[in-house]
C-alpha cells in the first residue's frame, strides 16, 4: 500500500484530485483554511492500494494558523513511509514553487502535479514540465483535475516512484544562509537521528521560527542546550540585519522566480476571459452589492420553496407511521409514548430541518467552489469590521438564518479564536427557520407582519451591538483581512454533491440523536403528568419576571429541545389556537422575543461544545439568556404604552 500526502496551496485543486479518486469523503474548498481537518481515504487503482491523506491547503510550512499547523504536525508525526503529492496551481507558478522548495527540504519521495494547466494557458503561460522535473529532481505531471485530465498518469507515476530512490534536488541558499544551516545541524548533534525527517529541514524551520519545531526541540534538548541554540540563531539575525524568516523567505522567492524563468514562457494572453469580467460586476461598488442582495434573495426563495414543498410530504408519512404504532401499542401506554417520541424526533429531523438544510448546503457549496464566497467576504468585510468581525464571519451568520447547527460548524473558516467565538455567539442569536415559524405564527399572525419584521430588525441591531461589545471585551487585535480571490471556476457536480453530503452527515450525526432524545423526554413529561409541576416551579420566573402566564413555562423547556415545536406546544398548553384569549398583545410580543434569543437548542449546544469547547458554549448560552431576559422585560414594561 502506498501512502500519499496531498500538500498544496489553497485553491490549487488539491481536494478536487482527492475527490476524483476517493469520492465521498472530502471537502474541497476555495477559501484558505476551510478544510481544517484532514481527510483520508483508500482506493485501488490498477490493483494497487493507495491511502490518500488530504491535508489542509497551506501557503507555507511556517504555520500561521490551525490548518497549516496541522499539516506540519502531521509531517512530523507520521511514522509510516509516505510520498508527497504536491499540487500546484500552474497559473501562479512562482508562488506555488515557494512551497515546493520547502517540501523538497523534507527529502521524501515526491511527485508534483502541475494542475490547472488550462488556466495557465489562458494567461499565455507555457510550462516545460520536463525541464521543471529536471531542476527539482522529481516527476512533474501536467493535470487539469476538474476535467479529470492527467490524473491517471499522475497515479501511474506515483505507483512507480517509491521504487526509485531518486534524490530530490535540495534548494541551496546563499553562502551565509548555508553556513547557518550547517552550524545548526551540528548543534543538533544526534538528537534527531531517530526521526524520519531530514535534519536540514528541521534546521531551516527552526531558524525561521516555526513554533512547532521549537516546541519539539524544547522537549528533546536540555534547557541550556536549547538556550545556546536560540542565542546562536539570534546572533545570526543581528549579523544579518533582517529578521531571519524574511531573509529565508526572500531567498526562496528569488529561487522560485529563477526556476520560473527557466521553465516558463509567457506569451500572448488569450483574449480577456469572460470570467474575469464577472468581477467587474460582482465586486463593483454598486452593482456588487445589488447582485449580492439579488443572489441572497434568490437563494432564500429557493431554499424556502424547496423546504415548503418537501416538508409536508415527509410529515405526512411520519404521521402515518406514528398512527400505526398507536394502534399497535395502545394510545396511552408508556411504550407508545417512548416510540412516538422517537419517531417524532426522527421524523422531525428529516421533515423539518433537512428540507431546508439540503438546498442550503448545496448552494453554499456552489458559492464556495465557484469562488463567489470569497467575493461575499470581500463585499461585506467593511461592515463586519464595524461589528468587530472578519469578512468571512458573514458565512456562519447567513447560515444561521437556516439552521444554527451548520452555522456553528462553519465557524471553522475563521482563523482567530476570538473571531470564531464571537461569530459562533452571534450566529446563535440569529433566528433559525424554527424560530422563524414561531415569530410569524405568533407575532405575525396575532399582531401584524410589520411587528414580526420588527423582531428581525431588533435582532440584527442586537447582533451588531453584541458583536461590538464582545470584540471590545476580547481586546485581541483580529488579524488583518487577507484573502485570495480565486479565479472563477465551474464546479464539478460530483464535488458539490460530495461536499453537501459530507456537511449533511455532520449535522445529522450531531443533531439527530439529540432531536430524538429531546422528543422522548417531552413525551415522558406528558405521560407522567409533570407539566403542571414544571409550570409552577418556573412561575416565579415566567410570571414574576417575564410577566407571562405560567402555562408557558413548559413550552420554554420544550423549546430547548425542539424550537420548532414551541408554537404547537403553546397551542396545546393553552388549549386553544386563539392565543389572544390567554395572552395580551404585549405578552405575545415579549414571549416571542424571549423565544428568539433565549438559549441555543440542544443540537446547537452540542455543535458549540464541539467547536468552541464546553466552557465557551455555556458562556454563549448564558449570554444569550441574559439578552433574552433583558429584552423580554423591556418589552413587558414598554407594552403598557401599546
Amino acid at each position: 500500500m502506498i501512502k500519499v500526502l496531498l500538500i498544496g496551496q489553497p485553491n490549487s485543486g488539491k481536494s478536487t484530485i482527492f475527490n476524483s479518486v476517493i469520492g465521498y469523503k472530502s471537502i474541497s474548498s476555495n477559501i484558505a483554511g476551510v478544510t481544517v481537518e484532514f481527510t483520508t481515504g483508500k482506493t485501488v487503482i490498477d490493483y494497487r492500494t493507495f491511502e490518500l491523506v488530504d491535508l489542509p491547503g497551506t501557503y507555507s510550512l511556517i504555520s500561521s494558523d490551525e490548518a497549516e499547523a496541522l499539516a506540519v504536525n502531521y509531517l512530523l508525526e507520521e511514522k509510516e513511509d509516505f510520498l508527497i503529492l504536491n499540487v500546484i496551481d500552474s497559473s501562479v507558478l512562482t508562488r506555488s514553487l515557494e512551497l515546493t522548495i520547502q517540501l523538497l527540504e523534507l527529502q521524501k519521495p515526491m511527485v508534483v502535479a502541475l494542475n490547472m494547466i488550462d488556466d495557465a494557458e489562458r494567461k499565455g503561460i507555457e510550462i516545460n514540465a520536463d525541464k521543471l522535473s529536471e531542476i527539482l529532481g522529481v516527476p512533474v505531471i501536467k493535470t487539469i483535475a476538474s476535467k479529470g485530465i492527467g490524473v491517471s498518469e499522475l497515479f501511474d507515476k506515483i505507483s512507480i516512484h517509491p521504487r526509485f530512490i531518486t534524490k530530490q534536488n535540495p534548494f541551496y541558499y546563499s553562502e551565509g544562509a548555508e553556513n547557518m544551516i550547517s552550524d545548526l545541524k551540528a548543534a543538533f548533534m544526534d538528537k534527531f537521528d531517530g526521526l524520519k525527517i531530514s535534519k536540514r529541514f528541521i534546521a531551516i524551520q527552526f531558524i525561521e521560527n516555526n513554533l512547532i519545531i521549537h516546541e519539539k526541540c524544547k522537549k528533546l534538548f536540555l534547557k541550556e542546550e536549547f538556550e545556546n541554540i536560540i542565542e546562536m540563531v539570534q546572533r545570526y539575525e543581528t549579523e544579518c540585519g533582517k529578521k531571519l524568516n524574511i531573509f529565508f523567505h526572500k531567498e526562496r522567492h528569488l529561487g522560485a522566480f529563477q526556476i520560473f524563468e527557466e521553465v516558463a514562457k509567457v506569451g500572448q494572453k488569450r483574449k480577456k476571459d469572460f470570467l474575469v469580467k464577472l468581477d467587474d460586476i460582482f465586486m463593483h461598488s454598486f452593482w456588487g452589492y445589488l447582485s449580492l442582495a439579488s443572489i441572497m434573495f434568490i437563494m432564500f426563495q429557493a431554499i424556502f420553496s424547496f423546504g415548503g414543498f418537501a416538508e409536508p410530504l415527509f410529515l405526512e408519512n411520519f404521521g402515518k407511521i406514528s398512527d400505526l404504532l398507536a394502534n399497535y401499542f395502545g394510545q396511552d401506554s408508556l411504550l407508545h409514548s417512548i416510540t412516538h417520541g422517537a419517531i417524532v424526533g426522527f421524523g422531525g429531523g428529516i421533515a423539518i430541518v433537512i428540507p431546508y438544510l439540503l438546498p442550503f448546503f448545496l448552494i453554499l457549496a456552489f458559492m464556495e467552489d465557484t469562488g463567489y464566497l470569497a467575493r461575499i467576504a470581500y463585499l461585506l468585510d467593511s461592515i463586519m469590521h464595524k461589528i468587530g468581525l472578519h469578512g468571512l464571519s458573514v458565512v456562519p451568520l447567513i447560515l444561521g438564518y437556516g439552521c444554527t447547527v451548520p452555522a456553528i460548524i462553519s465557524t471553522r473558516i475563521l482563523k482567530s479564536r476570538k473571531d470564531k467565538f464571537i461569530t459562533a455567539a452571534l450566529s446563535t442569536l440569529i433566528p433559525c427557520t424554527a424560530r422563524m415559524t414561531t415569530i410569524f405564527a405568533l407575532v405575525g399572525f396575532f399582531i401584524s407582519i410589520k411587528a414580526a419584521i420588527m423582531i428581525y430588525v431588533i435582532n440584527l441591531i442586537i447582533v451588531a451591538v453584541s458583536g461590538k461589545i464582545l470584540s471590545k471585551i476580547f481586546n485581541e487585535v483580529s488579524p488583518g483581512f487577507i484573502l485570495e480571490m480565486p479565479k472563477y471556476h465551474l464546479p464539478s457536480i460530483k464535488v458539490l454533491l460530495n461536499k453537501t453530503w459530507y456537511r449533511l452527515k455532520e449535522f445529522v450525526v450531531i443533531a439527530w440523536p439529540l432531536l430524538i432524545i429531546g422528543s422522548i423526554i417531552l413525551e415522558l413529561i406528558n405521560y407522567f403528568n409533570l407539566t403542571s409541576g414544571i409550570n409552577s416551579f418556573l412561575s416565579p420566573f415566567t410570571e414574576g419576571i417575564l410577566g407571562l402566564p405560567a402555562i408557558v413555562g413548559i413550552t420554554l423547556i420544550f423549546g430547548i429541545m425542539r424550537k420548532e415545536l414551541t408554537i404547537i406546544l403553546l397551542f396545546a398548553a393553552i388549549g386553544t389556537n386563539d392565543v389572544l384569549k390567554v395572552m395580551t398583545v404585549s405578552q405575545i410580543f415579549s414571549y416571542t422575543i424571549f423565544i428568539t434569543f433565549y438559549v441555543p437548542c440542544l443540537a446547537t449546544f452540542a455543535a458549540l461544545v464541539k467547536e468552541i469547547k464546553l466552557s465557551n458554549a455555556l458562556l454563549v448560552s448564558f449570554f444569550s439568556f441574559v439578552i433574552a431576559v433583558i429584552l423580554a422585560v423591556f418589552f413587558r414594561f414598554i407594552g403598557v404604552f401599546f
Binding site: 500561521s64 508562488r95 503561460i125 522567492h253 467593511s382 488583518g480 483581512f481 485570495e484
Partner: protein, 75 residues
C-alpha cells in the same frame, strides 16, 4: 513613501516596509507579499473596504486597515 491604502486604482506599488504585527506579516509573506514586491492595485472599494491587488498571477484582497500599514513607493 506612501501607504498602499492611498494608492489609486491602476497604479503599481512597490512594497518597502510593513508596520504590523508578526501574524499579519507572516500571512502576507505566505501569500507572497513582502519587501520589494511590486503590486498593482486592481480595485478599491468605497467606505474603507478592502483593496484588491494583483501580482504573480493571483488577486488578493487586503483589508483597508492592513493596507494603511503597508508602506512603499508608487512605480
Amino acid at each position: 513613501m506612501t501607504s498602499l491604502a492611498k494608492t489609486e486604482k491602476g497604479k503599481k506599488f512597490k512594497v518597502c516596509d510593513i508596520i504590523s504585527d508578526k501574524l499579519n506579516e507572516v500571512n502576507l509573506m505566505n501569500l507572497g507579499i513582502s519587501q520589494g514586491i511590486i503590486l498593482e492595485v486592481v480595485r478599491k472599494s468605497p467606505l474603507k473596504g478592502p483593496l484588491i491587488v494583483s501580482f504573480g498571477g493571483s488577486e488578493i484582497a487586503i483589508g483597508y486597515n492592513l493596507a494603511e500599514k503597508i508602506f512603499g513607493k508608487r512605480v
